[in-house]
């Protein structure tokens, strides 16, 4: 669905998304990498459980929230990929404890 503007991505950065291996370009954001890999749902909402994906891609809308390396509610569009990152779909509200 989404295509990178960069015609020659390195695909040298390896991510794990809910157990699936994803190759990302150096310097791109987690949101860009997941979208390029065809992932359409990043989370479901805390109140009504509705599916969400990135909307603004610039840090404003908070719709792209995912868990990254054990930290919930990270903005995928604001985090640059790093090799070995473990990313999980965010389900509902994070824990309060």
């Amino acid at each position: 669905m989404f295509q990178r503007l960069n015609p020659a991505p390195t695909l040298a950065v390896h991510l794990d998304f809910d157990g699936r291996s994803i190759a990302a370009d150096t310097g791109e954001t987690v949101a860009a990498a997941l979208l390029a890999a065809g992932i359409g749902q990043f989370r479901d909402t805390p109140v009504e459980g509705r599916p969400r994906a990135p909307y603004c891609m610039m840090g404003i809308c908070f719709d792209c929230l995912v868990e990254i390396d054990g930290v919930p509610n990270r903005q995928a569009c604001m985090v640059v990929v790093a090799d070995g990152m473990k990313i999980r779909r965010q389900h509902g509200a994070r824990d309060a404890a």
Partner: protein, 374 residues
């Protein structure tokens, strides 16, 4: 763009589209009054956009029984307000009144709260407020930090969404035929007894009744109609966390979890004039107190923060008055637009519609600021 000029005549004009003005306007519309609501716009300081959202009773009216009773009445009227707004507009303002806690982080504070509860009980009658020791508070809320010694508790306290409340009041007002007029900054008021003309740019609005509820703008506008509202700004800063699973059902004076799961923390009181900025020192202080109370908040992300200007009278109590020189002109001002929304919509507005404020509001006249220096 050609200017629309809905210059017109109404039964009443309310100046101020914040929580106080909108609650009164909605209440007037319920009384069958054809009202116009003039709202200034984004350049105004708009305290109603910065509220914390407490419907707070336990500490209101210490040494001022009239204010204690007015506040308690508002809490009693709130369920009817929330239900009516939900029926009319479909908007749930998330009212919950499970009782509220004021945490004490020192023995001195425990002592002080205990004395306040006794004093208010003796002055204004009991509302079931009591002091809880640490063990009792732990039974009510989980995850308390070690510094929490106890809390004062009142079963009358609650909270609501201030933004949904504002939206619902506006929607309900319009639904009942009220005329909402945004981006109207009032330049001048031409007063006469029961005949007022309000000038906004090239527009003129006329009505036999006028309500000044313009927050910090009231200081300038009130004298134009023979009223006096000597209010000054008092800044409060608030931070909002990411949404999380529910852990705190009871509102507290500086931490509450919203219906959506965000945690709001705040309650600074800063005399800094018309500066509504946020400052790191205050936010650090708020964060420190919040984490001392609930250590699990330490790793939660802050997603928004703002400063807003409370509308404060010299003694902190509201002003309600009708002009002696120009009957038909009323002023209403307070810093508790959420708590007092029930009273404003369902008690004050009907009184304004009838043309006379009740004797129970006599002591809220601005005349109290003119004690002679004999």
């Amino acid at each position: 763009m050609s200017p629309v000029q809905p210059t017109g005549a109404f039964d009443a004009i309310v100046v101020g589209g914040g929580l106080v003005g909108a609650a009164i306007a909605w209440g007037l519309a319920r009384e069958g009054i054809a009202a116009a609501l003039l709202d200034e716009g984004d350049q105004a300081f708009r305290a109603a956009r910065g509220n914390f959202g407490l419907v707070w009773i336990q500490s209101k009216g210490d040494n001022r029984p009239e204010y204690a009773h007015w506040t308690r009445r508002s809490a009693e009227l709130w369920p009817s307000l929330a239900n009516t707004l939900a029926e009319e507009t479909g908007i749930d303002v998330a009212l919950a009144q499970p009782g509220g806690l004021h945490f004490c982080l020192s023995e001195a504070e425990m002592e002080e709260r205990g004395q306040m509860i006794t004093r208010m009980h003796n002055q204004s009658g009991g509302i079931g407020a009591r002091l809880l020791d640490r063990a009792e508070v732990q039974d009510m809320v989980p995850g308390l930090g070690p510094e929490v010694r106890g809390a004062s508790f009142s079963p009358a306290d609650g909270h609501a969404s201030p933004l949904y409340l504002l939206r619902a009041l506006h929607a309900g007002f319009i639904e009942r035929g009220g005329r909402y007029l945004p981006n109207r900054s009032v330049d001048r008021i031409d007063p006469a007894p029961n005949a007022f003309t309000v000038l906004c740019g090239a527009e003129r609005f006329a009505a036999p009744k006028l309500v000044i509820a313009a927050g910090l703008g009231s200081r300038r506008l009130a004298p134009m109609a023979g009223l006096e509202v000597p209010v000054d700004p008092l800044r409060g800063q608030i931070m909002v966390t990411e949404r999380m699973q529910r852990f705190l059902d009871l509102p507290t004076v500086f931490i509450r979890q919203t219906a959506e799961g965000s945690v709001m923390v705040g309650d600074s009181h800063e005399d800094v004039g018309f500066d509504n900025a946020t400052t790191p020192a205050i936010m650090q202080d708020i964060a420190r107190r919040s984490i001392a109370t609930f250590p699990a908040l330490a790793d939660k992300q802050i997603v928004r923060a703002w400063g807003a200007l409370r509308v404060m009278t010299p003694d902190g109590f509201p002003i309600y008055e009708q002009s002696i020189r120009y009957p038909g002109a009323f002023a209403a001002s307070c810093h508790s637009g959420v708590t007092l929304a029930g009273s404003h919509a369902l008690a004050l507005a009907p009184a304004i519609a009838a043309g006379t404020l009740p004797p129970s509001l006599d002591s809220f006249n601005s005349g109290r600021f003119h004690v002679s220096a004999a």
